[in-house]
């Protein structure tokens, strides 16, 4: 059992796991993933491919590598190893960061080592002055005898190791929370329209359901720079009349729900009237970008196909919206009643009906995401970076200074970057040689 525990907390196992994990991730980049190409595209690829493709992508689960049993098993082993290493090394780490002066004999031997720096003792030099000077360099100094000072800098830096590795666990908790609570929905709204429901048509959370949401798209604000589209924003009216706005990169937030604006287009408002001008039907149609849009009117009697002359090169500003030409075709059953180009405000006769484009509005494509755990994830990132900086950059340093009537010896050790620390020691020694008598604790 002890052997098994030792193996589980082995750092060689850590290295092997990192390598295996990296290799698996590389496979996930090379093999198309359903999460990236889309489920439909993946299913089509599997259906069109042969047995070999089906075996690798479906049977082995390589198309959904990041939720496959192999990946999850490796991840589990990674965290078992992490916890085992943390358990075995946290105790020694906590003991190391205690403020404990070395025993006199080892300390004496250390200072006497041949690579200690030696310098003459300046006139007026005092231990109190030296202690004060060491404090100026960030050291916490303690007298370790009549003729010795021991000092440490960034004493608690080894704790950064714990913080860095615990941050992985925090990240895992955040990721699990997000995975199980994440719901993604989409909405396409025309200005003035209200959306109400549960936004999970794109992804349902494995656990629970998001809250019902309702909001009204009050306006769409495309931005232009030098006549070209350069930004996109929307204004939303939320429950209770509260206003929210969403722009690209700046989504609207409502509790645990985030609303992102992803797309925009034009939506002509069509009135269908009879010969006397009485309204038969009214529809605001969100026109597609790249193909004509079909709209049924008057109880499916008429099929109206609209195709606005709008592209990314000539996307209209609010001022130009009222002048956007729309190619319109009206059918009554299989009979094409007419095909014309219309602009907002124009009325055209089609058979015994009249079609009016009374208005042109924008529509906006929205992505609605509801999830919990994001702040835990961010906390994990921050903790990880802080831990890495604390451990590796601010690493622990110890020095020992010993003197007699004529000279002083300075030695030290740093956890990392020995050569740089050597230069630091030389600067320290130089500073200690310029202590004046007036310096006190």
């Amino acid at each position: 059992m002890t052997g098994l525990l030792r193996a589980i907390s082995s750092l060689r196992l850590t290295a092997a796991l990192i390598l295996a994990f990296s290799a698996l991730l590389m496979l996930g980049v090379i093999v198309p993933q359903a999460s990236v190409v889309g489920e439909t595209a993946m299913q089509n690829a599997v259906a069109e491919g042969g047995g070999v493709r089906r075996f690798f992508l479906e049977t082995l689960g390589l198309a959904r590598l990041h939720t496959s049993p192999l990946f999850l098993a490796l991840l589990a082993l990674f965290f078992v190893n992490l916890v085992a290493v943390l358990t075995s090394r946290t105790g020694p780490t906590m003991r190391r960061i205690r403020m404990r002066v070395p025993d006199p004999e080892p300390l004496k031997r250390w200072v006497a080592s041949p690579d200690a720096l030696v310098a003459p003792l300046p006139v007026g030099w005092t231990a109190a002055g030296a202690t004060s000077r060491l404090r100026g360099f960030g050291y916490r100094a303690i007298r370790a005898g009549d003729d010795t000072i021991w000092a440490v800098r960034h004493r608690a830096a080894p704790f950064g190791f714990v913080l860095l590795h615990v941050s992985f666990i925090v990240l895992l908790v955040g990721a699990i929370l997000i995975y199980y609570t994440r719901a993604v929905g989409s909405a396409r709204l025309i200005e003035g329209q209200t959306w109400e429901g549960i936004a999970d048509d794109l992804r349902r959370p494995p656990a629970g359901r998001p809250d019902r949401l309702a909001f009204t798209l009050t306006s769409v604000e495309p931005r232009f720079e030098k006549g070209e589209p350069a930004g996109l924003g929307v204004s939303l009216r939320m429950p209770g009349g509260q206003q929210r706005s969403a722009r690209v990169n700046y989504p609207a937030q409502w509790g645990a729900t985030t609303i992102l604006v992803t797309d925009v287009g034009v939506a002509p408002v069509l009135w269908l009237q009879d010969a006397q001008g009485f309204a038969l039907d009214k529809v605001a149609a969100a026109a597609e970008h790249d193909r004509p849009t079909r709209v049924s009117m008057a109880g499916n009697r008429y099929l109206v196909t609209i195709n606005p002359d709008v592209s990314r090169e000539n996307f209209p500003s609010r001022e130009a919206l009222g002048r956007v030409p729309v190619e319109v075709e009206v059918r009554d059953g299989t009979t094409v009643l007419g095909r014309v180009q219309m602009t907002p405000g124009q009325t055209v006769q089609f058979g015994d009906a009249r079609l009016v484009i009374s208005d042109m509005r924008y529509w906006a494509g929205l992505r609605i995401v509801s999830e919990r755990g994001g702040s835990v994830l961010v906390l994990g990132f921050v903790a990880g970076v802080a831990g890495a900086v604390w451990r590796l950059v601010l690493h622990r340093r110890e020095i020992a200074l010993q003197w007699n009537g004529e000279s002083m010896r300075l030695t030290g050790r740093a956890e990392f970057f020995g050569l740089t620390f050597r230069e630091e020691l030389e600067s320290l020694l130089e500073a200690l040689q310029t202590i004046e008598t007036k310096e006190t604790i």
Binding site: L11, R12, T14, A15, I18, L19, F21, S22, L25, M26, G28, V29, Q33, S35, V36, H66, A175, I178, V184, P222, E225, K226, P229, A230, G231, L232, R247, V248, N249, Y250, P251, T258, L260, T262, D263, V264, G265, H289, D290, V310, S311, R312, F315, G365, R367, V369, G374, L377, V378, F381, V382, G384, V385, A388, L392, V393, F416, F417, L419, T420
Partner: protein, 278 residues
């Protein structure tokens, strides 16, 4: 890019290439004057390189971050800047010879792509972009310095073995110890800045796409690269890998960085306009 810009750009690349050769020549044949000229040449090239970055910034009205070319221009600048900083006071005479070829590779590749000036699209107008990109350049610059130091370390140890000397020769040992520490320090710096880059990128992704992490190839490869360098740190700190063993790891780990770098630019290539219109 304009003709003058192109001329200066290629002149900078040629300068870097020549100075790399000059450094190697100076070290091999112990020509101090040539080494001094190489240092001046690299500094001069860097000054013009800086001017190019500023020129592009003014011309486009934004930090050079869009597309292969701008990323290569700025990324190459960071590699050279960090190499010059690491090698200041002539601590590592051959470091530029090891690191600058990567700047040449990146900038040369960038020059082969579309160099047209593009407006800043809405998807890139985010505070997080600047944090993400800045730390990416710092990380990749640091990794390149580590790789350059590793290459120099490997060539020095190979040369000293061939010349009958060894790592016990005091001058060689001192030089190798400094290179070993530079490899480690650069890797630490790169690892931390890489972590910030990944974190900032995740937060930006959440604001732009609604998801902190979606396992897309760019994200995944940047994680792989970070894990490899994390492995290198583990090998050094806990298993005591130093010298040639660590040098080989760092010399090969740069491949992950190069893949990440080009991967980003492949994803960023696309419409200059915000809306999916037409």
């Amino acid at each position: 890019m304009s003709r003058l810009f192109a001329v200066v750009f290629w002149a900078v690349l040629v300068d870097y290439a020549l100075m790399v050769g000059a450094q190697i020549w100076a070290q091999t044949f112990r020509r101090e004057k040539v080494a001094a000229l190489a240092r001046i040449g690299i500094l001069a090239g860097f000054a013009f390189h800086t001017a190019l970055v500023a020129w592009r910034w003014i011309e486009t009205g934004h930090v050079p971050t869009i597309g292969n070319f701008e990323n290569a221009l700025a990324g190459g600048w960071f590699i050279v800047a960090m190499t010059l900083w690491a090698a200041r006071r002539d601590r590592y005479p051959l470091l530029a010879a090891g690191a600058l070829p990567f700047a040449l590779l990146i900038m040369g590749g960038g020059a082969l792509s579309d160099t047209a000036v593009r407006p800043m699209v809405a998807s890139l107008k985010s505070f997080w972009l600047y944090i993400h990109i800045f730390f990416a350049w710092l990380a990749y610059g640091a990794y390149t310095v580590a790789c350059g130091a590793a290459i120099v370390y490997l060539s020095k140890t190979r040369a000293s073995r061939r010349n009958g000397g060894g790592p016990d020769d005091p001058a060689t040992k001192s030089s190798l110890d400094r290179l070993d520490e530079l490899m480690f320090r650069s890797t630490v710096f790169g690892f931390i800045t890489d972590a910030v880059m990944i974190g900032a990128g995740s937060i930006w992704a959440r604001n732009l796409w609604g998801s902190y992490w979606s396992w897309d190839p760019v994200e995944t490869w940047s994680l792989i690269s970070w894990l490899i360098y994390g492995l290198a740190l583990h090998l050094r700190i806990t298993l005591g890998w130093r010298g040639r063993r660590l040098a080989w790891v760092l010399a090969l780990a740069i491949v992950g960085v190069l893949i990440s770098f080009w991967g980003v630019n492949i994803v960023m290539r696309g419409s200059a306009h915000v809306f999916n219109v037409g």
